[in-house]
């Protein structure tokens, strides 16, 4: 009976991926405990509940066959787009940005939906046009990507927009967009940088400038970066020990349980801890890419590849910003930071990966 239950629970779960995920999430919980000052389990319990919900979602999604997921792609994308337009028209303004939509019973951030919907939509699109892709197909895909990204940039939420753009771009890239076009687009993009700079909001420019010289405004925009760098650097090779980080425990690290949780982790667990975390992330990305390589349909391949690379992007952008080599954008550290929404969209993504990984035999047979 128990083995039957286990069979049902584990059937659609990818073992290696799940082990890496659970290890990382557990590590995250211990750091959340430390980052919430130690001595209080409130945040850990809260994150535990978030985790339970997200794992349930992962299991459900993993049990949905890829073909069914493919059918969900268009409604999810269109629905998300409608909500984004809704945000632009009726959205709530918080902290100077229009990102939230009040649905009466709850408030949602539709850009979160797009994190999954965009790669699914583009993968669906390329699957539909898999017979000999032409330049026109890529252009249309680009428009499908540009619509939500443009709406999110206008909110403004540059960080999310960049990540969604990345997830869509990965699909287009994996679909085989020719190098010539990639390179020429890259060159054009570089040439347009000054124009883009002119379009940035003041606070966004300041974040970029702060990265170049954080000491210019040590108590203002530079404070986050300076303090998190000090925390990580002072951790040394082995760290100051769990709950013993002075930067973290004495409140010098801002947003220490959310976006800047890496500073707490790096301070208390040192270089050793950071290497372990990077290794776990690398294993997860590698396993994801393996699943993509072995997937049987174009949709599955592109979706799996894009999800894995997007996950990598999240991890890299957050670690880069907290350690002071990328500008500060509001990106949580995947599987580690406190917060339910990001964890949910992340694990739903891994649910898709597991669905692809465990349903492929059926498709190919």
């Amino acid at each position: 009976m128990i083995s039957r239950l286990f069979e049902i629970l584990a059937r659609r779960i990818d073992g290696p991926l799940m082990v890496a995920l659970v290890l990382t999430v557990s590590l995250g919980l211990t750091v959340v405990y430390s980052a919430s000052g130690g001595g209080s389990l409130d945040r850990v319990m809260g994150q535990g509940r978030n985790l339970a919900v997200a794992l349930a979602a992962l299991w459900i999604v993993a049990n949905i066959p890829p073909q069914a997921l493919m059918r969900l792609a268009v409604p999810a994308y269109v629905g998300g787009l409608v909500l984004l337009v809704g945000v632009a028209l009726f959205g709530e303004v918080r902290n100077g940005a229009r990102r939230w939509l009040n649905l009466g019973f709850t408030t949602i951030q539709p850009s979160e939906i797009m994190k999954i919907a965009v790669p699914l939509m583009l993968a669906w699109y390329f699957q539909r046009h898999e017979e000999g892709l032409k330049l026109r197909d890529y252009a249309l895909a680009a428009i499908l990507l540009a619509l939500p990204v443009g709406l999110i940039v206008r909110q403004p939420d540059l960080g999310t927009a960049l990540l969604i753009f990345a997830s869509g771009f990965f699909v287009i890239f994996l679909a085989g967009l020719s190098w010539k076009i990639i390179v020429s687009l890259g060159v054009t993009g570089l040439a347009l940088l000054p124009v883009l700079w002119g379009m940035l909001h003041d606070y966004q420019r300041r974040r970029v400038l702060t990265l170049i010289d954080p000491m210019e405004d040590p108590l203002g925009a530079g404070y986050h970066i300076i303090q998190s760098t000090i925390a990580i650097g002072s951790g040394g090779v082995l760290g100051k020990g769990w709950l013993n980080g002075t930067q973290a425990q004495l409140d010098f690290v801002p947003e220490r349980s959310t976006d800047f949780i890496l500073a707490v982790y790096g301070e208390e667990f040192g270089l050793a801890g950071n290497l372990v975390l990077i290794l776990l992330y690398a294993l997860i990305v590698a396993r994801g890419l393996m699943i993509a390589a072995n997937a049987s349909t174009t949709f599955a391949r592109l979706t799996a590849g894009a999800i894995s690379l997007t996950f990598f992007t999240y991890a890299f952008v957050n670690m880069g910003m907290v350690s002071g080599i990328l500008p500060v954008v509001g990106v949580p550290l995947p599987l580690m930071s406190y917060g339910g929404t990001a964890l949910l969209s992340m694990l739903v993504g891994f649910g898709v990966l597991m669905s692809i990984s465990t349903h492929k035999q059926l498709v190919s047979s």
Partner: protein, 631 residues
């Protein structure tokens, strides 16, 4: 599907896998970049960031030492510390300070004086400094504020040590006071390299002993290492080095004698310096009017400050050290010594005094204070009756440079070197001095006024006291001092400060004896200060003096009653007692007191009675009311 190009799944898969490999490699490179960043931060730069993290969390808080206390020669406390609550405001943390103080006034009393003082402090200091609005809060006031404290962000109750001067105005010029450190003090502290030791200290000695012995009194500031959080709140103490209290000062003053002396002045302005003639120890140092040093401790309010600063009585001026007056006839004993020293007079030589003296070639007579003169006058009598005519001729015979040469070792014309600041040197004129000062030649007539302590000659009461101490101790120059010992705060051991070497002036004992005998007769019947010696069980040697405030025209009669109070002559008296075994030597100046015998003399008597007999005065009459000889 018909007509469509055939798919090549294998080729497609290869492209996809190539792309995947490229992406995978790029991801690996990116992770490698992060690893190298972490190695850079956590291995190469670790020391640097460790230092920064420690600097973040560790705050060094100064622990201010207790200031040393000041004790008089009998152990009475002259300056002490007490702990009290103050309510302080950091203006930068309060939006509308005026309004906040109005609100505060509904909770605890805020006097207009407190507001004025606060305003003045605010103008003088920086906005982020915490400044007292109320001092010496009662327990009840502290409690009442505590209940309402949420209404007053930027306000803070602090327990602080305060300086108090239990005797108030008494000896205020000698003791001095402490006040809040101002910009000039900060610069002084910086120059002395004491900035670290003054961290956390906000008061410093400004005047008198408090100012001059700041180094002994202040002590060594300790420090406490405190772990703080990002909001600056202290979490726990890490280590502490105790401050070392300032040393206690044992001063030479006898505060009871000082009180007697100050009271003896009644409502007169003036100065008194009483010395132990054998050591130069200052037993009393009076400058009237005085001021209450307690006013300065919390920062003086503008009304009191203006009152002190603009008063025509100049209560802040230390007349004993800074008042430069013509010494008048009090210098006659020294002139007599000079006459004997240079062989210009013998004790027996006598003149017949017609009441005036003529400088050869000058038609204007120099008048004696007594119309008609004193008759036959020899050296002894010249002092007893204070004969001017005798000294006119003597000065002319000596010449101003010989007088200068003789008076300089006695301390005239230069600072005595007393151990507090602000002393002025007076003026002992000479031909050189006049040439340098005015580019003018010295006239013979100039010398004649100098002979009776007028003209260019100016002395401070302190100089006169020092000079009379030399007469009292047998011809040794002394250096007055106010502090005789320092008591170590830790060991309680007392370190006696050395008495500055006394120099023996080459005055022949027999000359000294002649002058001292004459000074004793000054206080006996027939002398100018008869009342001083009247009924005293000990002998007093003294000399009266009068210093002109307004120049008199020749032939004009000085009538005390007709002259406005402020234009009356200053009264002077120098004396020591007991004459056969001197314990106290003093100099007294009473501004606009008329003449020395009747105004300054009785003050001397009260001081001697208390110092020698321990007898407190029963005051019968007002100073100066008794009629006596004029000079």
């Amino acid at each position: 599907m018909v007509g469509q190009a055939l798919r090549d799944p294998r080729r497609e898969l290869t492209v996809f896998r190539n792309r995947l490999t490229v992406a995978g490699v790029l991801a690996l490179v990116a992770f490698g970049l992060l690893v190298s960043r972490f190695v850079w931060l956590q291995v190469v730069q670790r020391e640097y960031y460790h230092t920064l993290a420690e600097a973040n969390r560790i705050s060094v808080v100064p622990v201010v030492p207790n200031r040393g206390i000041i004790l008089d020669r009998k152990g009475q406390v002259l300056a002490a510390n007490y702990s009290a609550y103050t309510l302080e405001i950091t203006p930068s943390k309060v939006g509308n300070v005026e309004k906040a103080i109005d609100d505060l006034a509904t909770v605890i009393e805020v006097a207009p004086r407190d507001r004025r003082r606060f305003k003045r402090l605010q103008e003088e200091s920086k906005n982020f400094e915490s400044l007292p609005i109320r001092t010496r809060l009662t327990e009840e006031e502290v409690a009442r504020f505590a209940v309402n404290r949420w209404r007053f962000p930027g306000f803070e109750i602090k327990a602080r040590l305060f300086r108090s001067y239990p005797h108030g105005e008494v000896a205020s010029h000698a003791i001095g006071y402490i006040g809040r450190i101002n910009e000039a003090d900060v610069r002084r502290i910086e120059t002395a390299g004491l900035t670290t030791n003054y961290k956390g200290t906000d008061h410093i000695g400004k005047l008198g002993i408090e100012g001059a012995y700041e180094k002994e009194l202040h002590g060594t500031t300790g420090s406490e290492q405190v772990e703080i959080d990002a909001g600056g709140r202290a979490i726990r103490a890490l280590s502490r080095s105790e401050p070392q209290s300032g040393n206690n000062l044992l001063v030479t003053l006898d505060i009871e004698l000082q009180k007697v002396a100050e009271e003896a002045f009644q409502d007169y302005r003036g100065a008194l310096v009483a010395l132990d003639p054998s050591t130069g120890d200052v037993l009393a140092l009076v400058s009237k009017p005085g001021f209450d040093p307690n006013l300065f401790v919390d920062g003086i309010d503008p009304v009191n400050w203006d009152a002190l600063n603009n008063s025509p009585d100049k209560p802040l001026n230390n007349r004993a050290l800074r008042g430069q007056y013509p010494p008048g006839s009090t210098i006659k004993p020294f002139m007599a010594l000079a006459a004997l020293h240079y062989g210009k007079r013998t004790p027996e030589y006598a003149i017949s005094d017609p009441g005036h003296w003529m400088l050869p070639g000058v038609s204007r007579p120099f008048r004696d204070w007594k119309p008609g003169g004193h008759g036959m006058v020899n050296l002894h009598r010249s002092i007893v009756v204070s004969c001017d005519t005798y000294y006119y001729g003597l000065a002319n015979d000596l010449g101003v440079d010989a007088i200068h040469r003789f008076m300089t070792p006695l301390g005239f014309g230069s600072r005595t070197g007393i151990d507090i600041d602000g002393e002025l040197p007076g003026l002992q004129p000479s031909t050189d001095w006049k040439w340098q000062r005015f580019k003018q030649k010295w006239y013979a007539g100039d010398t004649i006024s100098v002979g009776i302590g007028q003209g260019y000659w100016l002395s401070t009461p302190l100089q006169l006291a020092t000079a009379v101490a030399t007469l009292a101790n047998g011809g040794n120059a002394v250096h007055p001092r106010l502090v005789r010992g320092v008591q170590d705060a830790r060991t309680q051991e007392i370190r006696e400060l050395p008495i500055r070497a006394r120099e023996s002036l080459s005055i022949k004992p027999e000359h000294l004896e002649l002058v001292r005998a004459a000074m004793i007769d000054v206080t006996k019947p027939g002398g100018t200060a008869t009342r001083v010696g009247q009924g005293a069980p000990y002998l007093v040697a003294g000399k009266t003096g009068t210093a002109q405030v307004v120049g008199m025209k020749a032939g004009e009669k000085y009538d005390e009653k007709k002259v406005k109070e402020r234009h009356r002559d200053h009264a002077l008296f120098i004396a020591y007692a007991p004459a056969d075994n001197p314990k106290v030597a003093l100099a007294i100046l009473v501004e606009n007191g008329g003449h020395g015998g009747s105004t300054a003399g009785p003050i001397a008597r009260e001081v001697f009675d208390f110092a020698i007999l321990g007898k407190r005065p029963e005051r019968k009459q007002k100073l100066g009311e008794e009629d006596g000889p004029n000079d």
